[in-house]
């Protein structure tokens, strides 16, 4: 579960996430990876953080940073977490990899007051063009896998996600777009031009 990584090697979606999260809040990071986002949130925002991941190597990396982290399969749900027990639940580059994204979003907004979600945009022009011209499942830096090895089991566009939220009474409170390795607050035709998004969701 890799974060959005720009061409300069920066974790582009992290800056927006860090920006949105209120100091001192409780943060649950689902698919927390090596814990670098949580660590920054702890250091810069003084949050009380909890990480969840399934990969033992990620757990080791988090333990090394002194983070709280539990091993768990997100496909098994969030039963252990109480209603509205966190201020923010982060789901970074993970939602397209779980079996039932709809259930996960419901669960995330049960557990957290807000959700911070980032995902790749399958509607990006280069992917559309790749499929049209090459006739093969397109790849880019966010979707780098061969189809048969990909952990990404759902391909959806930014507009798909907006429709999904509208249908489920989930409000998109903020959205930033990844474009050319940068995160932008505004982007024309984001469903065509953005490689991915990071959104702040609430009920």
């Amino acid at each position: 579960m890799s974060r959005l990584i720009s061409e300069r090697g920066e974790h582009s979606d992290l800056a927006a996430m860090i920006d949105w999260i209120e100091p001192g809040s409780r943060v649950l990071d689902l698919g927390c990876g090596d814990g670098s986002l949580l660590q920054q949130l702890v250091q810069r925002k003084g949050v009380r953080g909890m990480g969840v991941d399934i990969d033992p190597d990620h757990l080791l990396a988090c333990a090394e940073k002194g983070l709280s982290v539990v091993q768990r399969d997100l496909n098994a749900g969030l039963k252990a977490f109480g209603d509205q027990s966190y201020d923010y639940v982060i789901v970074s580059q993970t939602i397209h990899q779980v079996r039932y994204p709809d259930r996960l979003v419901d669960e995330v907004l049960r557990v957290g007051r807000y959700a911070v979600v980032s995902f790749p945009n399958f509607g990006h022009w280069a992917l559309r063009l790749g499929l049209l011209v090459r006739g093969r499942t397109p790849k880019n830096s966010l979707l780098p896998y061969e189809w048969y090895q990909s952990p990404n089991i759902h391909f959806f566009t930014l507009d798909d996600f907006k429709d999904f939220c509208a249908a489920r009474q989930v409000r998109i409170l903020k959205a930033h777009y990844l474009w050319d390795g940068q995160v932008r607050e505004r982007l024309p035709f984001p469903n065509l031009l953005s490689q991915g998004s990071v959104v702040l969701l609430g009920r």
């Binding site: 409780r26 009380r48 909890m50 033992p56 757990l59 080791l60 988090c62 333990a63 090394e64 940073k65 002194g66 983070l67 709280s68 982290v69 539990v70 091993q71 768990r72 039963k79 252990a80 977490f81 109480g82 027990s85």
Partner: protein, 383 residues
């Protein structure tokens, strides 16, 4: 199963002993004293406990956790793979303390110790001790050694129960609890195995109401109890890999009831080795202490989440995938209750075919997380 290269050892060590000044009131209501505690230490103590790690042993362990008694080449301490210079519990950095539990039979006051007024062994009259009592004795030892905190308290199996109890009984004293292959309470299945083990001892004709010291000991009963234990420490997969259906010393069935299968002679060997070093009365006490252990009941009026509210330390919970004596789901239950309380918890399940014994055998996987967790805890403590 991984064999860790263990080049460095704490070397030759001695078991020390300390007698507590005052008698202690036990959970059962009885007062017990004087209590002598057998313990060993490795490494150098800093700042009254800033780098101190208390190691708690499992059912059959002792204070001798690392190094050698006498000359190197003898059997090392029971957790030699994990304790020593550069190992998971790095004795170049940490001051490691290990003591024999109350009611044990390796130096700490237990049923084979003399009753003060008569000089005769306590025997069956030794009070039924709890995990809490064991911890209370360890705390009194640390007080006497001048410690005012522990960087970590760690243990596997029954040792993990003690680590958990420490974090609840003395929340301000403990910076982290490392609960390995353990549980907040035994399942009915595990209690059942303990009950059969106790029955085996109690029904041995030489048990004599626990008053067998200086006479023939209930060796058969204790050996069978140990065999049952060993079955539960392994796993189907581990047994299959280790023994399969192999026969020992023959190629055909004897059509008799002697030991034929390799697994039989393994169990027999484990049983007869055990009776040479362990006291049957202590075995009764240890299994009963585990059966009684239930932190939800003791600290939370039946609620695990409520019990853990009082905890102030970091907690590392480790389980082993094939452990059916202390199954991973029980560790997950503990972790969930810690999560419900927003406690600082880290949980990892180590994939292993080794069963409950995984906590002694999967040294590399275990060391990887223990080392990191301890170092981060030490950093926090120094900050």
């Amino acid at each position: 199963m991984t064999q860790s290269p263990s080049p460095a050892s704490v070397g030759v060590v001695q078991t020390l002993s300390h007698t507590l000044q005052r008698a202690l009131e036990l959970d059962c209501g009885e007062t017990l004293g004087p209590i002598t505690v057998a313990y060993e230490t490795y490494g150098t103590l800093r700042d009254r406990g800033a780098n101190a790690v208390l190691i708690c042993h499992a059912l059959s362990g002792s204070a001798h956790a690392a190094g050698f008694h006498g000359q190197p080449g003898q059997a090392p301490g029971w957790w030699e793979d994990a304790i020593g210079p550069g190992k998971a519990f790095d004795t170049d950095r940490y001051f490691v303390i290990s003591s024999n539990v109350l009611g044990g039979c390796s130096g700490t006051t237990g049923p084979s110790s003399p009753y003060p007024s008569t000089g005769q062994p306590y025997g069956i009259h030794f009070p039924v001790v709890t995990i809490g009592d064991m911890v209370q004795v360890q705390k009194a030892l640390l007080d006497a050694l001048g410690l005012d905190r522990l960087l970590a308290v760690a243990g596997g199996s029954m040792g993990g129960m003690q680590a958990l109890e420490w974090a609840l009984r003395y929340p301000g004293f403990v910076r982290s609890a490392l609960v390995i292959a353990s549980t907040p309470r035994l399942s009915a299945q595990s209690i059942a195995f303990n009950a059969v083990a106790r029955n085996s001892i109690l029904s041995d004709e030489h048990f004599a109401g626990g008053d067998y010291y200086g006479k023939e000991i209930p060796a058969t009963g204790l050996a069978i109890a140990r065999m049952i234990g060993h079955i539960t420490y392994l796993s189907d997969e581990a047994m299959h890999a280790k023994f399969g259906r192999a026969l020992r010393g023959r190629s055909e069935f004897s059509y008799g009831f002697g030991q034929e299968f390799s697994v039989e002679s393994y169990l027999d060997h484990q049983g007869s080795k055990f009776v040479e070093r362990f006291d049957a009365n202590s075995y009764l006490l240890m299994t009963k202490a585990m059966d009684y252990f239930d932190i939800a009941q003791a600290w939370g009026g039946g609620s695990l989440a409520q019990a853990l509210a009082r905890l102030e330390s970091r907690v590392l919970v480790l389980s082993f995938s094939s452990d059916w004596l202390f199954p991973p789901y029980q560790s997950v239950e503990l972790v969930d209750a810690l999560l419900a309380n927003h406690k600082d918890v880290t949980y990892l399940q180590i994939e292993s075919p080794a069963g409950h014994d995984g906590f002694l055998l999967e040294v590399d996987a275990e060391a990887a997380i223990l080392r990191r967790f301890l170092a981060a805890t030490a950093r926090k403590e120094a900050a």
